[in-house]
């Protein structure tokens, strides 16, 4: 397949945006807080450069396997980024909030079940079984990711745990992109690989455009500093300690009655 001018533009824009974001992560020292997210961006730079060399020097089959190997790595790293965002939000004291353990299990199993159900319904048409696996696998992954990010918002609000500023920005970017990606991958699944390949390619370009916007959002937001925290006034500290004692005592009483 011959690369068009638009393909080259996307390639260059993607590489440039990833490099800028990587620079921001290092210059502003965000990599210390978000090592997995930094690795995810770094892997994307590596993928773009490697695929360029493979395309110029390698075979068509070599390009195919390299592309999808990086695709799998990308999915694994995206899941790791989800873990990192959850970890930064739901471990305020260094351990997972104990009131959310059941909710985590429910969220993960529910997300997998719903994504699996939707993937089972998809019936993409393709010449090779491997193409079907790839289309379905990509759709499954995007559905899971979108559910996990929306689930993160729900759990944080219900549990009363605030997002740190940059965690919120990374999660929002990846969450919105994941939801768009569900639609794109559903379109890919509907079109398959035996019908209109131009429409298939156009959908891929829409996804890349959405991702470029997401990268631009991260660059701006991660460059900015989070709002400064405030010093706790003494009277508020006193109130807080008393409230804590009060709730502890109430809780003990309820527990005692239930025994």
């Amino acid at each position: 397949m011959q690369l068009t001018g638009l393909d080259l533009l996307f390639w260059a824009a993607g590489l440039g945006a990833h490099l800028i974001l990587l620079s921001v992560l290092f210059i502003r020292r965000r990599f210390q807080v978000f090592p997995i997210f930094t690795a995810f961006i770094f892997a994307n730079v590596g993928r773009t450069v490697t695929l360029c060399f493979v395309r110029l020097l390698g075979s068509k089959a070599g390009y195919f396997y390299t592309f999808w190997s990086f695709g799998i790595l990308d999915t694994v790293l995206q899941l790791a980024v989800v873990y990192e965002m959850y970890s930064l939000t739901f471990r305020p004291l260094g351990v997972w909030a104990r009131d959310l353990r059941g909710a985590f299990i429910g969220l993960v199993s529910g997300s997998i079940a719903i994504a699996a159900g939707l993937t089972w319904l998809a019936a993409p048409q393709a010449r090779l079984w491997m193409q079907i696996v790839i289309i379905k696998g990509t759709f499954f992954s995007s559905a899971c990711m979108s559910e996990l990010f929306v689930g993160m918002i729900v759990l944080a609000v219900k549990a009363g745990l605030p997002w740190k500023t940059h965690v919120a920005r990374i999660s929002q970017g990846l969450g919105v992109y994941s939801i768009i990606d569900v639609l794109i991958e559903a379109g890919h699944s509907y079109l398959g690989l035996v019908r209109d390949s131009q429409a298939y390619t156009t959908l891929s370009q829409v996804r890349m455009t959405a991702y470029l916007f997401c990268l631009a959002y991260w660059v701006v937001m991660l460059w900015r500093n989070a709002p400064d925290s405030r010093r706790l006034p003494d009277n508020m500290r006193g109130q807080l300690v008393q409230l804590q004692n009060m709730v502890d005592s109430d809780l003990e009483m309820i527990r005692a009655r239930e025994r």
């Binding site: 305020p92 004291l93 909030a97 104990r98 009131d99 719903i114 159900g117 939707l118 319904l121 998809a122 019936a123 559905a143 979108s146 559910e147 990010f149 929306v150 918002i153 729900v154 944080a156 609000v157 219900k158 549990a159 009363g160 745990l161 605030p162 997002w163 969450g175 939801i179 569900v182 639609l183 559903a186 699944s189 509907y190 925290s229 405030r230 010093r231 706790l232 009277n235 508020m236 500290r237 109130q239 807080l240 300690v241 008393q242 409230l243 804590q244 009060m246 709730v247 502890d248 005592s249 109430d250 809780l251 009483m253 309820i254 527990r255 005692a256 009655r257 239930e258």
Partner: protein, 186 residues
Amino acid sequence: MSTRTVYFIVAVAIFVLALIAIAIYYYRRSQKSSQKNWERLLKRLTAVDRSSIAEVALDIIDESGRRRKDEASAVLESEQIWKMVGGLKGLEVLEANCAVLVDLAFYVQQWYPEALVVAEQLRLSARDIEWHVGRLKSAQQTGKLESAFTMYAQPAVATYYLMTRRVLALYEERNLAMLADLRNAL
């Protein structure tokens, strides 16, 4: 287009719309939480019939919060308690006040990271109480509340009574302007 493809398209459309609706709803809730301030949060305590609540609570506990063991204790019948509490709504008041505590913890964790430990303990305790009240509500839904009422509801009301009394004490200590309104409400 096959029937399965139609199902797929409809299912994906519902899935995406549901995700967007849920995300927007909870995102807006989190934005609202971020904009609250300490005093406004404390003002969110729900108004109840305090004399009835006190009567139900003091039937099983004394003023210090200890369980009464004298002969005159625990004499209220389930029906009386149900009426005085105002049914399940009385229990929901306790739950609503726990939600205030969770919001207070959210506020502190967001703006005062130095108080993270206390705020997280407060949040966990309040969530724990919510869970216990949830059990009472579940008993009501499954039609077992009557049998469980004395066992669960009266202690929950007593807990509410103690909690609001202590919050009032906090307000008195700080001599806050809204104390009179708050006292009337509670």
